[in-house]
């Protein structure tokens, strides 16, 4: 078994409160499913959209990241899977895919 970080991108504007609630319930169900199957190594955290970015040797601090909404990382979790292909398969249940977002799957480096 190897560990993978799932990065969730894309903040969604909901068309209706019912749609938002459905999406929220899908997230809860998906986490439950991953957990029950023993794949959820670390439930991670959702991230606020605002923040600061510090750059360069000048340590210049700016507000941000002001990326496009679809590129902003909205949260992460750590998943345990057999291999990258298996991890990618597991990500297909993520509700963010249904609302225009994406999941980036990155194997955690081991020595």
């Amino acid at each position: 078994m190897s560990e993978f970080t799932f990065l969730f991108r894309g903040r969604k504007h909901f068309d209706s409160p019912d749609e938002a609630q459905k999406n929220m319930q899908q997230w809860m169900a998906w986490f439950k499913e991953l957990g029950a199957a023993g794949h959820l190594k670390d439930p991670g955290h959702p991230l606020e959209a605002r923040g600061k970015v510090v750059r360069g040797s000048q340590k210049l601090v700016t507000d941000g990241p002001y990326a496009e909404a679809k590129d902003v990382v909205g949260g992460y979790i750590i998943v345990e899977a057999r291999d990258l292909a298996h991890a990618a398969e597991l990500s297909k249940g993520c509700p963010i895919l249904g609302v225009g977002g994406s999941v980036e799957i990155r194997p955690i480096q081991t020595l």
């Binding site: 909901f14 209706s16 409160p17 019912d18 938002a20 929220m24 997230w27 809860m28 986490f31 949260g75």
Partner: protein
């Protein structure tokens, strides 16, 4: 934890109403953005961590914090609510002010203020209903379009225009002014009545949407009664009417999902708790000096719901009530219902004569139960060919699949007595 599948939708109205009070009616769009932000956070945090123990309080607190961020960030760039603006300018007053505006009592006021604002006189009835459903009930454009058989683009345009009118008006309705309140109340009651009726008899193909419209109208009426200024005899009568009709919602369709006439409904399926509530409300509506359309319609509904079978119904009383209704709110539909009640007392031939005598009855041509009523009465007179023709006409103007199915069954029943 078990929560209503419409938790978000119901909280939407509370959040937008409270935020509009803080930001001012001209910043309605900002209020909606902030409510949207609170819901996005709920989706993320709850999705990860599960539901908080008090989701309503969580949403309110998040909206409050988002509102404070906006007030601090934009207080030099924007003007907020005219009467509250000065409190928003100082850090000393902004937090306590916003705290008071998010208390349960304040939100109750805000909901009423919003309900009355949505019934702005400049708006058409259709726009008023769309606004109420969108802002207070959290219906999306597609849900509203489905309820009123509109297209997405047209419905969206109507809502956008109506919100523009609301924002342009600049200030929210003043619920503290007794004169304004009394003058606007009939429009508000009428809007809730129409939402309920759209659910009860409406054209939407989706039965779930129609049920939700009835529920929302009842929820808003309860909200109105919950406020001291809103608890008028007319409001009690309207609530009574909704309860007594909603009590029979389950009985209107049988186990196969097919529409049933009042006569053939399984009365044991009627919701006795709602009937009791409706009768209680009807009792409380009797305190005023005037008798409204809602009083009479509720009294008619009470005649039906308290009869253990169709023959038990006090039809002479129903006829009297329709006579009274005709004198204050005459319409071809009221006259039609009166004719049907007369047929129960004096026979089918008399009923048909009454229908033939309805003024402006050509306006009923698109109403399926006009044709169905004549079909039913002709059927009772054993004139099956005529009955069948009427049912055929009714089928051609049926408004939803349940109506169509029901009318087709009646048409077939006539066919069993005729050659063709």
């Amino acid at each position: 934890m078990e929560v209503s599948e419409h938790l978000f939708r119901h909280e939407w109205g509370r959040l937008v109403a409270a935020l509009t009070r803080i930001f001012g009616a001209h910043n309605l769009a900002l209020a909606e953005d902030v409510a949207q932000e609170a819901f996005c956070r709920a989706v993320e945090v709850w999705g990860y961590r599960g539901m908080p123990s008090n989701p309503q309080a969580w949403l309110m607190m998040t909206a409050k914090n988002c509102a404070l961020d906006v007030l601090r960030r934009e207080r030099t760039a924007r003007t907020f609510g005219p009467e509250l603006h000065r409190y928003m300018l100082s850090e000393w007053t902004v937090t306590p002010m916003v705290e008071t505006l998010f208390t349960e009592e304040a939100v109750k006021d805000d909901l009423l203020r919003m309900m009355f604002s949505c019934c702005e006189r400049q708006l058409t009835e259709e726009s008023q209903l769309a606004l109420i459903l969108n802002i207070l009930c959290g219906f999306g454009v597609d849900e509203i379009a489905a309820a009123f058989l509109g297209g997405h683009a047209g419905t969206e345009k109507r809502i956008t225009r109506a919100k523009h009118t609301l924002s342009e008006a600049g200030r929210s309705f003043n619920v503290e002014s007794h004169a304004d309140f009394a003058a606007r109340l009939p429009t508000v009651l009428r809007a809730l009545y129409l939402i309920f009726n759209e659910g009860y008899h409406g054209a939407s193909k989706k039965a779930v949407i129609r049920t939700e419209l009835c529920r929302e109208a009842m929820r808003l009426a309860a909200m109105l009664l919950d406020h001291p200024a809103g608890a008028t005899p007319e409001a009690y009568a309207l609530s009574a009417l909704m309860c007594l009709n909603a009590a029979r919602l389950r009985g209107r369709v049988d186990a196969l999902g097919e529409l049933q006439t009042l006569e053939n409904q399984d009365r044991s399926s009627w919701d006795q708790a709602l009937i009791a509530e409706g009768l209680g409300l009807l009792g409380r509506s009797a305190s005023g000096a005037s008798v409204s359309q809602y009083h009479i319609e509720a009294a008619i509904a009470a005649c039906h719901t308290t009869a253990s079978d169709p023959a038990e119904t006090d039809w002479s009383k129903v006829v009297q009530l329709y006579d009274a209704l005709t004198s204050i709110a005459s319409s071809p539909v009221v006259s039609l219902n009166r004719a049907i009640a007369i047929a129960q007392v004096e026979g089918a031939e008399r009923g048909l004569a009454e229908i033939a005598a309805i003024t402006n009855r050509e306006r009923l041509a698109a109403y399926p139960f006009y044709h169905a009523a004549m079909g039913e009465l002709e059927f009772r007179c054993k004139r099956h060919v005529e009955a069948r023709q009427h049912f055929r006409a009714a089928v051609s103007v049926a408004r939803n699949p349940a109506e169509k199915g029901f009318l087709e069954r009646r048409e077939r029943a006539c066919g069993e007595f005729t050659q063709g």
